[in-house]
């Protein structure tokens, strides 16, 4: 898994590539919490277009990110979910909890 950050209107986009599994979710969690808690970025966009797989530990990290952003009064916005990622969100009954958009354009406009 790789994470790259780039600036976006009102916040930062984190581009994630690869598999968010038990081996890599700690790195994503760290990057996410840093962006939210330390940098206090008002809008954190997670680009999941290139995520091939996410497991329950990845979902757990997203939930932590969501809680942190609520605590901060900031926003965590997901987009580009593949079928696999979407399926896991649905299995977790979390698809309604997260702010989810189809494309980067829609996410940025939200």
């Amino acid at each position: 898994m790789q994470i790259a950050a780039r600036p976006a209107t009102g916040g930062t986009i984190l581009d994630i590539t690869g598999d968010i599994d038990l081996a890599h979710s700690p790195a994503m969690r760290k990057a996410l919490l840093q962006e939210i808690r330390e940098k206090k970025t008002p809008k954190v966009f997670l680009n999941l277009e290139k995520v091939r797989y996410i497991d329950s530990s990845g979902i757990a990290s997203l939930v932590e990110g969501l809680k942190a952003s609520r605590d901060q009064g900031s926003r965590l916005i997901l987009y580009g979910l593949s079928k696999t990622v979407r399926e896991v969100m649905e299995l977790s009954r979390l698809q309604k909890i997260f702010e989810i958009h189809d494309s980067e354009a829609q996410a940025l406009a939200s």
């Binding site: 599994d21 797989y53 497991d55 896991v88 299995l91």
Partner: protein, 151 residues
């Protein structure tokens, strides 16, 4: 037997196992969503072994055996895949094998739920100092599966 895989408790290995299982499901003509369900279950079950049975310690042995189940019986008319996992970690306490209610929004506690939703049979047991997990997914008879028989 399709194959037997020995790996060590190390999260880096999960990705290799996923690739193997994904291909096994493809070879057996599982549909894409079913293949993803099988991959997900094996991944979550192995992650649980590493985190719970082995408490996060690295380098401890895990075995995975995959069998192709022949078709014939009612539910399993089209056959299926059976995956057996074995570890030498602390005995799993059946009482702890509980998924949390999904309406709480908190991290964790989703793995078992994923496995039980994704597989047709899920059985934990302990034999000869090993924790065993048996998971089965049946093929749903589809036109594709039938068509590729003669391959």
């Amino acid at each position: 037997m399709l194959l037997k895989l020995e790996l060590q408790s190390n999260p880096e290995a999960l990705c290799l196992v996923r690739a193997t299982i994904e291909r096994a499901a493809e070879v057996m003509h599982f549909q894409d969503a079913e293949a993803r369900a099988i991959v997900r279950s094996v991944d979550e079950a192995l992650a649980n072994v590493m985190r719970h049975a082995y408490g996060g310690r690295l380098g401890l042995p895990i075995e995975m055996i995959c069998h192709k189940l022949p078709g014939g019986e009612q539910k399993s008319a089209a056959g299926g895949i059976e995956i057996l996992l074995a570890d030498r970690g602390v005995p799993v306490k059946p009482a702890t094998l509980k998924s949390r209610p999904l309406d709480e929004i908190r991290p964790g506690g989703l793995g078992l739920h994923f496995i039980r939703e994704s597989m047709d049979e899920v059985e934990f047991s302990r034999k000869k100092g090993k924790n065993l997990l048996r998971m089965v997914k049946y093929l749903s008879p589809t036109p594709q599966a039938a068509a590729s028989e003669g391959e």
